[in-house]
């Protein structure tokens, strides 16, 4: 059974295996296919049109399914690997062990934001950025640039307290838990973390940075925590909503999975601590 752990608690061997599995997917082309999929959805999901992966109620079940697929790809390389989660309310500076050279490497240098250490630095030769929005082929980061701050636990708790899953118009203007977690309204959780990391994480091709998966694994865990706090609050909308994935509508690109299928994470993985 897959157990997703806090990245800060991983052993040296677990870190090494996770990194090696990422590098293997990069080498065989599977990794870049995931980047392409994400960018295609982020460019096509619109507030007044069809929207599946982002700015819509299915943001959470879509990314849950996307991470499960990615985790299965990692496990095809090394069955012992699971996607760790990054609790950015605790590990909230560039000095965190997350950004050490034995794991993801650190922030980029000032001249061109290029990451210069760790297994994903361009200088390692193992991490060419091929699915990209501009000409740069090296991994970039600007951790906490311009004094930006990651969300605090109190800000997370204020969003977890919202009892309604989502609300009309079911997009970036919505009230409710989903849009506040996604960050288009309010204290801004998920979006702000992308911006804090910077580099490719701030673009539509954000999965180019391996921290993408750990960020979304924590967002996914927060969804589970919200469900525990609000056991009587259902996924919304239930049915008949134009341009939006209702509870029992199938989601692209898989077309065989619905939000209803994704509400319970436990058939797919558990957590190292109570979710």
């Amino acid at each position: 059974m897959t157990v997703r752990k806090n990245q800060a608690e991983l052993t040296a061997d677990e870190k090494r295996r996770f990194v090696n599995a990422l590098l293997a997917l990069k080498r065989n082309g599977q990794y870049d296919a995931f980047v392409t999929t994400h960018n295609a959805f982020i460019m096509s999901d619109t507030d007044d049109g069809d929207r599946v992966g982002h700015r819509s109620p299915s943001f959470l079940p879509w990314h849950r399914r996307y991470l499960i697929q990615f985790e299965q790809a990692l496990q095809s390389v090394d069955p012992s690997v699971a996607v760790p989660y990054w609790d950015w309310t605790v590990d909230r500076t560039a000095a965190s062990s997350l950004w050490a050279a034995d794991f993801l490497g650190g922030t980029g240098r000032s001249r061109d934001s290029q990451v210069m250490d760790g297994p994903f630095a361009a200088t390692s030769g193992a991490w060419p950025v091929t699915v990209r929005v501009d000409g740069r082929t090296f991994l970039r980061r600007t951790l906490g640039a311009n004094g930006r701050q990651l969300p605090t636990r109190a800000e997370v708790d204020s969003v977890l307290a919202m009892s309604t899953y989502d609300a009309a118009p079911w997009n970036s203007a919505s009230d409710g838990f989903r849009n506040h977690l996604e960050g288009w309204r309010g204290v801004n959780l998920h979006n702000r973390v992308h911006v804090w990391v910077g580099g490719q994480m701030g673009t539509g091709a954000s999965p180019n940075d391996p921290v993408f998966w750990m960020h979304h694994a924590f967002i996914d865990k927060l969804w589970s925590q919200w469900q525990q706090r609000h056991p009587n609050s259902p996924y919304l909308p239930a049915a008949g909503t134009p341009n939006v994935v209702d509870l029992r509508d199938t989601m692209r690109p898989w077309n065989d999975v619905t939000p209803a299928d994704m509400l319970d994470h436990r058939p797919h993985y558990t957590y190292d601590t109570a979710a």
């Binding site: 460019m43 619109t46 929005v133 501009d134 979006n191 701030g202 954000s206």
Partner: protein, 145 residues
Amino acid sequence: MPRLTRRQALSAAVGATAGLAVTGAAFGTAQAAASSGTGRTEAAGSQHAVHQAAPGSFDEVYRGRRIQGGPADGGGHGGHDGGHHGYGYTVRIDGDELHVMRNADGTWISVVNHYEPRSTLRALARAAVIDLQGADLVPLASLSS
């Protein structure tokens, strides 16, 4: 390659003056965005743009790069990603189109800054120039899957 010609001409003719002239204002925008602590990054004085039905056109050199925004001309670059999320507006950096999208509240994001809305297309284009650090955009067609 008309954009190279244009860039060369601009950098020689106006880049040194116009680019410098707007740098200070844009840094102010970036600082306001960084300190806002919310999903909104409205620069002081530009909130009115959120409520406009359509943003105005612009054409300027910012940090040595030509940024242009305005009504899409419809000339030969439609359908690159199956939609027109700029809502009839196109932004170009040195002639290359920047994929932009308007949020329900009237703010804008681009494929370069996809998680941090800006109040106007001009602020969005300037933010992209800052992020690009001199790099060229990849043509949109190659991004589509």
